[in-house]
Point group: C2
Chain length 477, copies 2
Amino acid sequence: MVNWMDGLALLDSTGPISGVNLFSSAVSTIATVVEEAPEVENVMVLGGVLLSLFAIYVASKVGGEFFNWLGFPPVLGELLGGVVIGISALHLIVFPEEGAIAADSVVMKILQATAGLDPAVAQPTFEIQSEVVNILAELGVIILLFEIGLESNIRELLDVGIQSLLVATIGVAVPFAAGTAGLMLIFHIPAIPAIFAGAALTATSIGITSRVLAEIGRLSSKEGQIILGAAVIDDVFGIIILAVVASLAKTGDVDVVNVIYLIVSASVFLVGAILLGRFFNSSFNALAEQFNTRGKVVIPALSFALIMAYIGSAIHLEAILGAFAAGLVLDEATIQDKKLNELVQPIADIMVPLFFVTVGAKTDLSVLNPAVPANREGLVIASFLIVVAIVGKIAAGWGAFGNMPLNRLAIGVGMIPRGEVGLVFAAVGSESGALSPALDVAIILMVILTTFVAPPMLRVVFGDEETGEPKPEEASV
Amino acid sequence: MVNWMDGLALLDSTGPISGVNLFSSAVSTIATVVEEAPEVENVMVLGGVLLSLFAIYVASKVGGEFFNWLGFPPVLGELLGGVVIGISALHLIVFPEEGAIAADSVVMKILQATAGLDPAVAQPTFEIQSEVVNILAELGVIILLFEIGLESNIRELLDVGIQSLLVATIGVAVPFAAGTAGLMLIFHIPAIPAIFAGAALTATSIGITSRVLAEIGRLSSKEGQIILGAAVIDDVFGIIILAVVASLAKTGDVDVVNVIYLIVSASVFLVGAILLGRFFNSSFNALAEQFNTRGKVVIPALSFALIMAYIGSAIHLEAILGAFAAGLVLDEATIQDKKLNELVQPIADIMVPLFFVTVGAKTDLSVLNPAVPANREGLVIASFLIVVAIVGKIAAGWGAFGNMPLNRLAIGVGMIPRGEVGLVFAAVGSESGALSPALDVAIILMVILTTFVAPPMLRVVFGDEETGEPKPEEASV
């Protein structure tokens, strides 16, 4: 939530024009008073956005490359790059929703020092540029979910096998139930934040798992196939749960009828989009085949993702649910010899880091400083979430039934990393206002730790021997 | 310029909460009153942005493909697609700077009808989402100029030959002098808008000219080479003139010292960037060669363009001058076997239409309705600009001196289309507030007409016979 009036109320502390005079004027003269107030200049807002994007991209590349060089998933580096430039450290990227004002923002200080930003309008300029960066980050997560949808093949999803389905179901149900119940019963956290945190425990990052499996040559092993199938189903379960939980947070009310209604509407939306999509997909292909100008395939695809995101948001589910559904619908599109996901990739390359870095920038690590006694409960909660996150997914490995000689521990460990999907949960929760800062940071710590421990654990439980499988493809340029 | 206080003043006319009560409260209770006021919801701003982007992309593709099918440059179709969805017709995309309020915006009406937007906050929601779309369009023109810079090769620019230089100089000087003097002396337009309109006459669209030359197989003819060289030099002259003129518009003051200072600083910025860039270019390549994660080349390149755009803007020139300089610096980069302009192309494909469609959407055609007597002068001005635009560039053809048998008329005609560069001038002029709506629309009409007439005229003056040259490449997907 953004309240633009806060900006006005703050004007009097930062600007030469007295806020008291502004507001105590007779109502009939408001229009004239407004004319005299200094105006927010578009060029300053643009300057703030340019500096913010520059800081975000530098943080994402430095963090991502460094973590990749260390052998960790780059997404964690982008997240921690965000932490470095955000509220916890450098204060380059801070947001009014987190309580920051213009004087806290290093970007605004740079604008004042180098571009001559009038301090009287620093606060509204800061708020508008922050909102632009926020919306760009939200477009980033919409593109991320669209890309995940494009990479999830519906046909494969349907043949993924009963074992993957069972692994996914246990891997969603156990952490969700244990997490939510534990937070409510042990830590006396109210229902909505507890459900949100429980829901964040359900995700599995298919990207990180499949990359590690490919690196150790286990992608096409029986265990690898079960993990990948379960991770895809997890995404679908997870996004339905997220839509339901976010909607609960909006109404603030957890009654059974509402929960059932939301689960049904989210599922109907997703399934309906896929069924209608079969018809749409062929019309889309036929249309795009006729086009000849620049962006002839990617613009129709992106437009479809945007309008589906809007519909998802308008029916009080989530924009990202719509984008994910759009990706599922279009996933088999191959137009003019180009796979759609290859075309969306360069857009995701520049948009998705905006999301990861922004999540990091909003993460206030100071709420977990153990030197402050009030923070210790947050640390205990974070530890609890991490244990549930790991144990719950390992338990899921035993969902792979039957007498086959399967490495069930490896299957469970493969489901541990939360990665980008867990961050989406944290961001939606934080945005909804349902999560306390401590719980928000606890979820992000859980995501970071599960994502860090999974790759080395997977190597250990699989025995780390090399197989003859091909290595993962080169990253895109 | 955006004044967020206007939104507050308008609240009382659109919302259930009385603005009178809100503003007549005692000053000491402002903080509490603010708490009670309805808040702008982030999800509604995002919804507005999603709908706006959808409308913009649909307009750009429908317009662009239709015009391409008719044999005209797609950019004109995108522009006219914008006119259709903008202030002149459908009112989907309207902007507060143009005097629109939330009640004028069809996107806001859709948000109210489908997503439950509270009418009390429709006005601030409209203003924030409009600002986000504005900034996205400005990022679009920054990417456009970065791409034009990447496509302009400095080495070729230096060897382009004295004939191209002379053609470019005449093609810049004649329309600029004739246009500015004519507007001031005949139409009594003040100096700053007259200089702006004169400057808009200097541009040549290398994209449209080179496409038509390729279609008629004349790209490698002597005339074709002179035209292309001159068009590239035109871009450099044009962007320096634009930076100078926009800066004049900001100070509102045309004195000789200031003009000389601005010309020198814009030229020093551009030349300095290029010289420093030679060193930077090799460090950039060496750095990018080391990177392995997604977006490893495109993100450093984009970051460089963004920070150069910021510097251009901060030193009171233009953000697009910085982006153009960044493109010139990086133009020879070939990293990991990929040409940089191929990597930037997919980003330009989605960002640049935002600019063209937004320019169209802001173009209020009603100011040229000949049925309104007050508009007739605007129409006369538009006709004057069009004549100067065509005659001035044809005159430039005779800058190709010497005894060679050259088709000098063809050279002049090849310089006629203003295309995207002319639109950049119109947008910067409109943004600066220097242009009256009528003059703004007159410039856009000039751009449209010169761009329309050039392709058929070129075919006629070249004799339209087919040559053995290869056809232009396929458009990107």
